[in-house]
Amino acid sequence: MGVEGIGARVARKEDKRFVTGKGKYVDDVRVHGMTYAHFVRSPHAHAKVKSIDISEAMKKTGVVAVLTGKEIVEDKIGNLICGWMIHSKDGTPMKMGAWPAMAPETVRFVGQAVAVVIGETRNQARDGADAVEVTYDELPAAASITAAIAAGAPQLHPEAPGNIIYDWHIGDQAATDTAFKSAANVVAMDILNNRLVPNAMEPRSAVAEYDSAEEHFTLHTTSQNPHVARLVLSAFYGVAQEHKLRVIAPDVGGGFGSKIFIYPEEMVALWASKRTGRPVKWTSDRTEAFLTDAHGRDHLTKAEMAFDKDNKIVGLRVKTHANLGAYMSLFSSSVPTYLYATLLSGQYNIPNIYAEVVSVYTNTTPVDAYRGAGRPEASFVVERMMETAARKLKADPAELRRKNFITSFPHQTPVIMAYDTGDFNASLDAALKTIDYAGFPARKAKAKSEGKLRGIGFSCYIEACGIAPSKAVGSLGAGVGLWESAEVRVNPVGTIEILTGSHSHGQGHETTFAQVVADRLGISVNQVSIVHGDTDKVQFGMGTYGSRSGAVGISAIVKAMEKMEAKAKKIAAHHLEASEQDIVIENGEFKVAGTDKAMALANVALSAYTAHNLPDGMEPGLKESAFYDPSNFTFPAGCYVCEVDVDPGTGKTTFVNFVAADDFGRLINPMIVEGQVHGGIAQGIGQALLEGAVYDESGQLLTASYMDYAMPRADDLPSFKLQHTTTLCPGNPLGIKGCGEAGAIGSTPAVINAITDAIGHDKLEMPATPSRVWHAIHMKQAAE
C-alpha cells in the first residue's frame, strides 16, 4: 500500500467542508421564488376522510395553494409501490393495498398526509395547514401484530383479508420435523424484536423546481439512491419523465436505510412545483420524521432449536410474524423474508431449517429496511437461541458455538445462501482473547463482592452483503437489478474523476474510493475526485445500502480502471516503443519494466486528448465505464462479546467491556471501517437498552420525539475494542465483504445475552430498560 493507498488510514477529504459548516444538505438549498410546503396529517390511526375544507386556509396571508389527494388522483399520479414480489406458501402473490401519496378517502396511520399547503414562507405554510378543516369518521384501529391477526380485527385493506400480506416459508418442513423427533434436546423461545425509528440526524427534505419552458424538473432530495428515486418517480408515479427529471442528493445527513425509499412528501413536492409554477421546499420536522420515516424491525417470533446428544444442532424451526405497518413500503416485503430467513443458519452447521413468515398490516407507520434489514432480526434469533441453549445444556457458550461452527467453505445452507469463505474460529478466538474470557469468573466474583451482577454475552453473527447478484435477486422477486456502475475520466492534465452510482451519506466514499484509484496508479488521493449523487452527472446507479458500496461500488470502479489502464498502457507502449505487456504502473508513471523508460500519467492523458500520435485506429480520449454485477452475496461475519454489570438495586446496566472482532475481508481505510462499526454498535446497543417505538391501542405513537424515544447518547455507551480478522472474499476483485451494518447486527444479541447471564434469567424484552431489568431480577427472586 502507498501512504494513501489501500489499507491506509487516510483522513477524510470531505471533512473540511463539514467541520467548517460548508456542507451542502438539501435544506441548505435556496432557489429564487421558493415556496414552502407543510402537510396536513391525520391525527387518527384509522379513519374515513369525510371532507376537507380549504376555504379558511386559502384566505391566510402568504398561502399559495392547498392541494389534496383529489388533485393527485386527477393528475393521474401513481400510487406508491413495493418493488419486491413475495409469493405465499400457496403460490398466491402478496396482497398489496393501494397507497396514494395523499389519502383521498381513508387514512391508515397517524401522520398520513391528507393535504399540503404551499406558502410563501415556512410559517405561512404552517399557519395555512392549521386552518385546513378535515372531518374524519374514525374507524377502529389495529396497532400491533397481535391486534391485527386477532379474530374480528379491524380490516385495513380490502385486498388483504385478515390483514395478512403473505404467509411465506423457506426450507424443508418434513426433514426439519423429522430431525426434531430424534433430537436429544430442544430449546424453545419466544423472541420479540422491538420496533425502531431510524432517526438519521438530518430530517428528510426536498426542493423541487419545474421549468415550464423545458418541461423539466429538478429535485434535490435526501436520498441514498437518487437514480432509483428518478426511476420510481418517472416510471411508476408518473410525476415526470425520466429524461426530464434531474435528481440530486447532495450531502445527506445519514440514512441507515430510511432514505432508500421514495416517500409521498418528495413526490408531492415535485408534483406541486409544476401545479403551482413555483419551486417548493419541504423539510420534515422531527415529529414528522418519527411519524413518516419508515420504521425498522418489529417481529414476533417463536423459535425452536434441536440438538443431538453431543450438542450438535440438528434442526431449527422458526415462525415469525412481521409488522409491515399500514402500507407496503418500497422494499418492505423482502426484509422479513429473503433478507431475514436466509440468514437463520448463522455461523453454524444446521442441516435442517424450516421458517415461516407471516407479514401483516397494522395501523402504524410503514416498516422497511433499517440498518441491517432482516439480518439483525435473524442474528438475534440465532444468537439468543445459542446462548439460551448453552445455559440449558450446561455448555460453555463459546464452546457450544465453536462445536457447531461451519469450518469448510464454500458451505451451502438449507436456506439458499452459499457462504463463500470465513474463519469463525479466528474471530471467536480474537474476541475471547481481547476480553480476557479466562479471567471472567474472577471478575464476576469480585463484582459480586461489590454487590453487582456481572454477565458476559456472545454473539457470532453472519450477514449477507454486497447486495446483490441481479439474476439471483430477480429470481427471488426483486423488481430491479442490484449491480453498480462506475466511470473513470482521466482529464488531459492527468487528474481523475470517478463517477459512481454509489451514494455517500456519511460513509466517506470521497476518500475510500479515491484511495483505490490512488493505490492502482501510485498517485495522491488529491488528484482524484469522486462524483456521485446527481443523475445529470452519473448515468445510472443503484445507490448505497446493504453494505454494498465497497463490495459492489468499488468493484465497478476497479473494472472501469482496468479498462482505462489497458488503453493508457497501449498509448504509453506506443510512445515508449515497447510492448504493452511490458508496461507497469508505478508512482504515477507508465514504465517499461526493468528499464528506466517511463511516461508520466499526465503525458499519457495529454497524448490521449491531443491525439496527435496515437496507435493506429485508437479513439482519442481517456474515459472508460463499467457495470459490475456481483456473482454472489458477500458474507461479513464476526464475534462480539460484551461484559456488563447490572445493579440489582436499580436494574441499571453498565458496560464493563465491549469487544467486536469482525472479518470484513479487505479493508480500504481501517479508520473509516472502525467508524462504521462504532456507529453500528451504538445503534445495536440502542435497540437492546434504550430504543423502542411504542404505540397505544388506538394507534397513537407515544414515542414521537426525543423527549420520549431514547436515542443513545454519549454517556449511555462505552468505548469499544475492535479487532479484525481477515479472509478475503473470493467473489470480487479486491476481496471486500462490507462493513456498514455489522455493528448493528452483532451487538444487540451480545448485550441481551450479557444481561440475561448477569441476572440468571432469560425472560427479558428489549429495550432492557432499568425498570424491565429490575423487574426481571425481582421476578426471579420471587419465583425462588
Binding site: 463539514f18 467541520v19 435544506d27 456519511g506
Partner: protein
C-alpha cells in the same frame, strides 16, 4: 416584525424578522449561515448549537428578540481563515464525524466544554457533557477521542499565546 441587530462572526448584521422567528432560522434563512443545523423540535439534539456571548446555546431555543444585541459565533466563524480551530482539526484527525450533520453543534458544544473545564477533561466527563448533543453515526467513540485530543491542543495553543 422586528429589526434584529446582532454581531455574527465578528460582523454587525441586522435583519427584519417575525417575532416568532427562532435564532436558528434567522441564521440559516436570513443570513445564509447554513452550517448551523436543525435536528429536532424539542431542544434535544444540539445540532443547532452556537455561541451566544461566548457560551454554547441551542439556537432553536432562542427567539430572535432574546438574542438581540448579542455576539454570536457560528461554526462558520470558528476557524481563522483557512486555519482550522483545534477542535475542528481534532474532529477531522480522529474521524469524529461521518455524515457531518451533528458536527457543527458537537464542535461548538465541545469548544465551550473545554473552556468551562479549563481543558481538564477525562472520558467520563466528556461523555456526560455531550448529553445534549445527539449523533446517530459515530457511536460517539471518535467524538470523545476528538474532544480529548482537542483539549490538549487548545491547552498548548493557550500556553503559546
Amino acid at each position: 416584525m422586528s429589526t434584529i441587530k446582532l454581531t455574527v462572526n465578528g460582523k454587525a448584521v441586522s435583519a427584519d424578522a417575525e417575532d416568532r422567528t427562532l435564532l436558528v432560522h434567522l441564521l440559516r434563512d436570513h443570513l445564509g449561515l447554513t452550517g448551523t443545523h436543525v435536528g429536532c423540535d424539542t431542544s434535544q439534539c444540539g445540532a443547532c448549537t452556537v455561541h451566544i456571548d461566548g457560551r454554547a446555546v441551542k439556537s432553536c431555543t432562542v427567539l430572535v428578540g432574546q438574542a438581540n444585541g448579542s455576539k454570536i459565533t457560528t461554526i462558520e466563524g470558528l476557524s481563522k481563515g483557512d486555519e482550522l480551530h483545534p477542535m475542528q482539526a481534532a474532529f477531522r484527525d480522529n474521524h469524529g464525524l461521518q455524515c457531518g450533520y451533528c458536527t457543527p453543534g458537537m464542535i461548538m458544544s465541545a469548544v465551550d466544554m473545554v473552556h468551562r473545564h479549563s481543558g481538564k477533561l477525562d472520558e467520563a466527563t466528556v461523555r456526560q457533557e455531550l448529553e445534549g448533543n445527539i449523533c446517530r453515526c459515530t457511536g460517539y467513540h471518535n467524538i470523545v477521542k476528538s474532544v480529548l485530543d482537542a483539549a490538549g491542543r487548545m491547552k498548548v495553543a493557550n500556553a503559546a499565546e
